[in-house]
Amino acid sequence: MRKLKEFIVEKLILICGLASIFFVALIFLFLLKEGFSIFKTVSPFNFLFGKSWYPISEPSQMGILPLILGSLLVTAGAAIISIPIGVGCAIYIAEIAPAKIKEILKAGIELLAAIPSVVLGFIGMVTLVPLVKTVFHLPTGLTALSGSIMLAFMAMPTIVSIAEDALYSVPKTYKEGALALGATRWQMIWRVMLPAASSGLLAAVMLGIGRVIGETMAVMMITGNAAVMPNSIFAPVRTLTATIAAEMGEAVVGSEHYFALFAIGIVLFVISFAINVTADLFLHQRQ
């Protein structure tokens, strides 16, 4: 009896262990199931590279290039801001900050990670958006730039914590060796620590970018949501994620619009999958 019970429990544990694989596959399958139908009416090429997104006009135009470029523009902006600041902060926390301040800083970063994105979006709307508007004398502050700044901020916890881990795992002997040779601490960090931790730092940056591309609520609230080809960071744009969130509520189940939004979901899934797998390879290589 006891043996039977143990047998059942152990099988249950195995099944739950496999659950993650099952769910990833299930997500992909259901996105495909619902999204693939769009390619009966629009070719994949026209879908990805069509320049106009008018899903509910007659005839509808389902080109997501403006949305892809919107996502890329906002993400590139966020990356430019967040990479130097995030890695800099990680170096400060890992190598320079005194032990007590280090704990406070880490708590601050964890606090940021815990703030819901809709709260950050709201705060961005009432503080950052008017600020961008007045500083750059724009007709509206709901721009790609505001989105980039906000997203850079939201990528920080990911970048800082993973980069700090990477720096922390550099063997102590490397540091001691550099210092013993008469290098200053900065020379040690710049010439020894950073190269030694490079693959981990790269993974940190990639996962930060992955977080940015997938971010939905905050970006929807502060980028202005104009589904047009973006031509400047001072103009409103719309990202892939915001399009799904904003339009799925109105799309009729089983309509072309509905299929198209799921197809955007496939694009996002594939992007995040690629980023996470590559980042994981970098992290693994380090060990």
């Binding site: 993650s20 694989i21 996105l31 600041i85 170096i91 800083l105 994105s117 009432v126 992955g210 996470n276």
Partner: protein
């Protein structure tokens, strides 16, 4: 030599500046929300339904809705997550399958939240015909927080020293008995921490419940798990972007309650972790 020290001072100054650029805004955000949100909080705001097209009244249905959604998510995710963590820490071997599982967990954690929303819509709302409901939203959120629970629980299980297991096994206990009576109790604080962090994450997410559970406006409380609910994060989104002329106070008040809820859970998790570290027997 002096030059290289000057370079060091300049570099350290910029690194310090980068750190300030992150930490100061975090502090400011929290201070602004407390300062402007706290005055909006009174008994009526917490216990009344929204009135006058959500321009007055309270947020009670949204609070209740979020509690339901989060409870549902954890009921679903905790058993699966915990067993998956047990598999990874106690049973798995260093082989391709384990590698695949770990990769799947990383990917699950990286899937954009709005894609979870799409998935929940396709699977639970439409395929299983649950409709937009508490159960659809809870299951979607549950799958989303699975990686958090698995990762933290696994760390907790793995931090139990190997010798504990050896002693138990050498006394004739079976593998499952060892896990059940020795490993799990010792890992409990860590598992609890992970669970609470998962709860906090689920409470704050908006995109996964957009099409699976959240109602724009619903004056009555749900009767069953197949009813739609209002939810705090979605309510904040609605009153800050969809409904014109909402008093600023109500927006800040809602943001305050949501933030307070999430931060409270994180605080509890931190306290548990801290107490556990002090008490640790090994």
């Amino acid at each position: 030599m002096r030059n290289s020290y000057r370079a060091q001072n300049i570099a350290f100054f910029f690194l310090f500046l980068a750190t300030l650029l992150i930490v100061v805004p975090v502090g400011l955000i929290v201070v602004i929300i407390i300062q402007k949100g706290l005055p909006a909080i009174n008994w009526q705001f917490l216990s009344d339904i929204p009135r006058q097209g959500m321009r007055a009244g309270g947020i009670f249905p949204a609070i209740v809705g979020t509690v339901y959604l989060v409870s549902g998510a954890i009921i679903f995710a905790l058993p699966i997550g915990l067993l998956a963590a047990i598999y990874l820490s106690e049973y798995s071997k260093d082989n391709l399958l384990t590698r695949l599982i770990k990769l799947a967990i990383v990917n699950l954690a990286g899937v954009p939240s709005v894609v979870y929303g799409l998935f929940g819509l396709a699977l639970f709302v439409i395929f299983f015909r649950f409709g937009a409901s508490i159960i659809s939203g809870s299951l979607t959120l549950g799958i989303m927080i699975l990686p958090v629970i698995i990762t933290t629980s696994r760390e907790a299980l793995e931090s139990v020293p190997y010798s504990f297991r050896e002693v138990s096994l050498s006394l004739g206990a079976s593998k499952w008995q060892t896990i059940r009576h020795i490993v799990l109790p010792n890992a409990m604080p860590g598992i609890l921490t992970g669970t609470i962090l998962g709860l906090g994450r689920a409470a704050g997410e908006t995109a996964p419940i957009l099409f699976t559970a959240a109602a724009f406006y619903l004056p009555q409380l749900p009767n069953s798990v197949f009813d739609q609910v209002m939810a705090l994060p979605y309510h904040l989104y609605v009153i800050s972007t969809q409904v014109p002329n909402v008093e600023e106070k109500a927006r800040y008040g809602t943001a305050f309650i949501l933030l307070a809820l999430v931060l409270f859970m994180n605080l509890v998790a931190i306290i548990i972790r801290y107490k556990f570290r002090k008490k640790k027997k090994w």
